[in-house]
């Protein structure tokens, strides 16, 4: 089954079996492995990508459903050379250890701050509660996202 969509600003076309999830399409057909798969049942949030502005679980979405959509993955959050302000805040606050949940945390937080640049810490926690992290205890992640709000407010 052929489909086309915009991935991180670039048009892509791919031919995948009908049952392919968007996560597997990104990872194994387009070799964009920044998006991680942690549970394949929509609980852990590691596979979160942004589809037409919404943070979605790419393990619960068929690739076909992304036909014609605008998809952003962790690879599309920063330019080639520099970390984005959100990524830099993660680094500064030590908001990642093993890094496996990080792409999903970043995409979820990016979608949140794009919509709600004034989100308070309670709101940030509420939204991030759909993404599991086993290393950090979440506290530095919340701090990082909170600090990164400034960059979204200026836009």
């Amino acid at each position: 089954m052929k489909l086309s969509f915009e991935l991180n600003g670039n048009p892509v076309s791919v031919d995948v079996p009908e049952r392919t999830t968007l996560a597997d399409c990104l990872r194994h057909h387009l070799l964009q492995t920044g998006t991680h798969v942690g549970c394949e049942h929509g609980v852990c949030g590691a596979c979160t990508v942004i589809v037409d502005g919404d943070a979605v679980r790419s393990c619960l979405m068929l690739a076909l459903q992304a036909d014609g959509a605008r998809v952003t993955t962790v690879e599309g959050l920063s330019s080639a050379d520099a970390l984005s302000p959100l990524q830099a805040a993660f680094r500064k606050h030590h908001a990642l250890q093993c890094g496996f949940c990080t792409p999903g945390m970043l995409t979820t937080a990016h979608a949140l701050l794009t919509e709600e640049p004034n989100a308070d810490k309670a709101r940030i926690r509420e939204v991030l509660s759909g993404n599991l992290c086993r290393c950090t205890g979440y506290i530095p992640i919340v701090e990082a996202v909170y600090e990164a709000r400034v960059a979204y407010q200026e836009n």
Partner: protein, 731 residues
């Protein structure tokens, strides 16, 4: 020759070098690897806890499109030879060999999830579809799901003084238990094995934790010389003790790759991860304390039983060994006699999980201490203060463990000072006024406990530093990264030791290609063992350069391009463990109508000797606390009475999320350098989790004291607490 290196970067909160790739989606975890023409494996696992394999027919599965092969025990045993088994990596004994797990089930199955067959196909979907086509007939046998009906594989005894017989004016005996739970790394395990017949070379990507030990076992089981096998470590999405030990798949995937002469990839899904990766923590005990009336402990004794699951796995000996030896924790106890029994059942086998045996021991001991303090009319903090060793007591001996004999001693520290710092940060004198108070319908409670964390397992670690013709400097170390920030701390140490900025150094770790031997990442050993080996190699390299140039200056002042190639090796030998130590305090509010507990405040203070990077040390402490809180309130691997596994998804097995525990404060200090290594560093990263069960349960007990309730088992889930509250105190 330069003396001890100045600490320029060591001790600073350096942002991690790993983050630059991990934040941009450029990390490389094992499932990210692609090899042209690689095949995909899926594993058929037993749906029955205990049974006789009547038939296993793979005929139809083999005929499905895309299926290249289906392997069962018949294919592995090569016509009747004994199946390879997984040896104990730690504390092996000949009498435990009969309890080792075969790499694939044959004749009988002993737990739900035991591998029965491996399907290899062109795509993963084809391999998974083919699993459904295998005809399997298992005749069920009675399943043991309660350790009281199980067989003891081994008994360990930890002894000090006359723990069995000494008595005192006050004695109390209690029973406690901890539920089965485990690490649940966010990245599932995975392997990509490739066999090159022409070169007689097996390459296995996905190694973690102990790649050299894994290679040793794999070489033996595959009848290959070790140097024909290359174990490659990529980014690893969490270890916590569970990932990287030798599992059946660590044999099966390389085996099928060799049989087919192809590259074969396997990635476990979350169901397999919960079912097949090591479980841990399931223990119960009966322990007794004997004290003087003033609270001084005279003796601690008792027994613990560990539900090991169906086999003794690679590091399965550690939880029962640790619970016996570390029951006394940081306290000065002259007489100890603690036995632990490793009991076999029909569940997933057990291994270590961050703070193995220590989390459980702290829950048992600290619960008993609070009961004793209450009986004796002592403030629980004062009770602990009276039983901590003083700095002049160091080194202070712990109980000696048997089978094989293992002596331990606490290395250094002012334990009471760490306790006081914790009380100050927590605001204990104010908060303790809330003890047992009913405020807005919720009971408040405070708990305070002390703990130790062992680190720096020997026997040695190796490092090598190479300067090439272009003057590029590469640091190779036998330590392994499981996501803990190894690269950054090793580069900080190397940079200071060489006198070169971090940016000029490349670091390589984990894989078997880098050093002659390596011991990996367990028992919080990487900083002390790998870090010191790097320092020794750096010193050797600088000595070489001094001999060539006549100058002993930081290498940033030397034109390395004109000197290369150079190579220096370093090995650090060590047989003494480090002991980080500290205290934890918790404030909870319990709603008696629902059994819901809110964690209002949590403080942990840990002295870890020389701190390499306060950012990563503090981060690991906070993360460990929250991981421990999962074990206290949420996480439980459950079975029904037939041994059927009930918690095979993250919707059934609950992990802490961002909204659960927002108030955790961690402080790491460096007041007591370890005398057993030149940096004075102590192993760290597990300490945060060790006291969590004890301190939180004590806070809950204090909150519910007006109702006369003493929690004796974890988890402290709302339904369980509700039942305790509404059923009233037992008896």
């Amino acid at each position: 020759m330069g003396s001890v290196p100045d600490f320029r970067l060591v001790g600073k909160p350096i942002e991690r070098v790993e983050d630059l790739r991990l934040l941009r989606g450029r990390g490389q975890y094992v499932d990210d690897l692609h090899r042209d023409g690689m095949l995909h494996a899926a594993i058929l696992r037993s749906p029955v806890a205990h049974g006789k394999i009547v038939s296993l027919n793979t005929h139809e599965a083999k005929a499905l499109p895309g299926v290249r092969a289906v392997f069962t025990a018949e294919d592995v045993s090569r016509g009747g030879e004994a199946l390879p088994t997984i040896p104990l990596r730690l504390a092996p004994l000949p009498e435990l060999e009969k309890f080792e797990q075969p790499v694939i089930a044959h004749g009988e199955v002993h737990y739900v999830g035991e591998p029965l067959a491996v399907v290899v196909a062109d795509t993963l979907a084809q391999a998974e579809d083919a699993l459904e086509a295998i005809e399997l007939d298992i005749e069920p046998l009675p399943a043991i799901t309660d350790r009281r009906a199980g067989m003891t594989a081994i008994r360990y005894t930890a002894v000090k003084g006359d723990g069995l017989n000494v008595s005192a004016p006050y004695v109390r005996r209690e029973r406690f238990s901890v539920q089965r739970h485990t690490a649940v790394c966010l990245e599932p395990r995975g392997l990509l094995a490739h066999w090159d017949g022409a070169q007689t070379r097996l390459t296995v990507a996905g190694a973690a934790k102990v790649p050299f030990a894994t290679r040793r076992t794999l070489a033996k089981n595959m009848d290959l010389p070790e140097d024909c096998i290359e174990m490659l470590e990529f980014d690893v999405g969490g270890g916590f003790g569970v990932r990287g030990e030798f599992y059946p798949e660590d044999f099966l995937i390389p085996f099928v790759a060799r049989k087919l002469g192809r590259a074969v990839k396997w990635t476990e899904d979350r169901r397999e991860n919960l079912l097949a990766s090591n479980h841990s923590r399931e223990m119960d005990c009966e322990i007794e304390i004997a004290c003087e009336r003033d609270g001084r402990i005279v003796a601690l004794r008792g027994r613990a039983w560990v539900d090991m699951g169906a086999y003794m796995r690679a590091n399965g000996s550690i939880p029962p060994r640790n619970v016996a030896q570390f029951l006394s924790g940081p306290y000065r106890i002259p007489n100890i006699h603690m036995e632990s029994f490793a009991v076999l059942t029909n569940k997933t086998p057990v291994g270590t999980y961050r703070g193995p045996g220590r989390f459980e021991a702290d829950f048992f001991r600290e619960r008993l201490f609070d009961m004793a303090a209450k009986d004796l009319g002592l403030d629980p903090v004062e009770f602990r203060r009276r039983n901590l060793p003083a700095p002049q007591d160091m080194p202070y001996p712990l109980a000696t463990l048997d089978r094989p004999e293992k002596k331990e001693e606490l290395d250094s520290g002012d334990y009471e000072r760490a306790l006081q710092r914790c009380l100050d940060e927590f605001g204990y004198s104010e908060k303790k006024k809330l003890q047992g108070e009913l405020i807005d319908g919720r009971y408040h409670g405070i708990g305070v406990t002390c703990f130790i964390e062992g680190g720096a397992a020997g026997p040695r670690e190796s490092a090598r530093i190479v300067v090439d013709e272009q003057g590029q400097v590469s640091v190779f170390v036998g330590s392994a990264s499981v996501g803990q920030g190894l690269e950054t701390v090793c580069l900080q140490i190397a940079s200071d030791a060489l006198g070169l900025p971090m940016e000029r150094l490349a670091i390589f770790h984990g894989s078997t290609t880098h050093v002659k031997e390596g011991f990996g990442a367990y028992h919080s050993r990487s900083v002390v063992m790998g870090g010191t080996a790097i320092q020794i190699a750096a010193k050797e390299l600088r000595a070489q350069i001094t001999r060539k140039t006549g100058r002993d200056v930081p290498l940033s002042e030397i034109d390395l391009k004109s000197l290369g190639p150079l190579s220096a090796e370093g090995t650090f030998h060590n047989h003494k463990h480090t002991y980080a130590y500290g205290a934890a305090a918790a404030h909870v509010a319990v709603d008696p109508k629902t059994g819901q507990v809110e964690l209002i405040d949590y403080v942990t203070v840990e002295d870890i000797g020389k701190i390499i990077n306060p950012l990563t040390a503090t981060g690991q402490a906070v993360g460990a606390v929250v991981q421990g809180l999962g074990g206290v309130f949420l996480e439980q691997l459950q079975y029904d009475e037939h041994g059927q596994f009930l918690t095979a998804s993250l919707a059934d097995y609950l992990l802490p999320s961002a909204t659960d525990f927002p108030r955790i404060r961690a402080f790491v200090t460096e007041e007591a350098p370890s005398p057993v290594n030149p940096m004075g560093a102590k192993g760290a990263g597990e300490g945060g989790i060790v006291p969590v069960g004890g301190v939180v349960a004590n806070a809950v007990a204090a909150a519910l004291a007006p109702l006369g309730i003493e929690p004796r088992s974890l988890p402290l889930s709302p339904p369980k607490l509700w039942e305790l509250i509404h059923r009233g105190p037992p008896g």
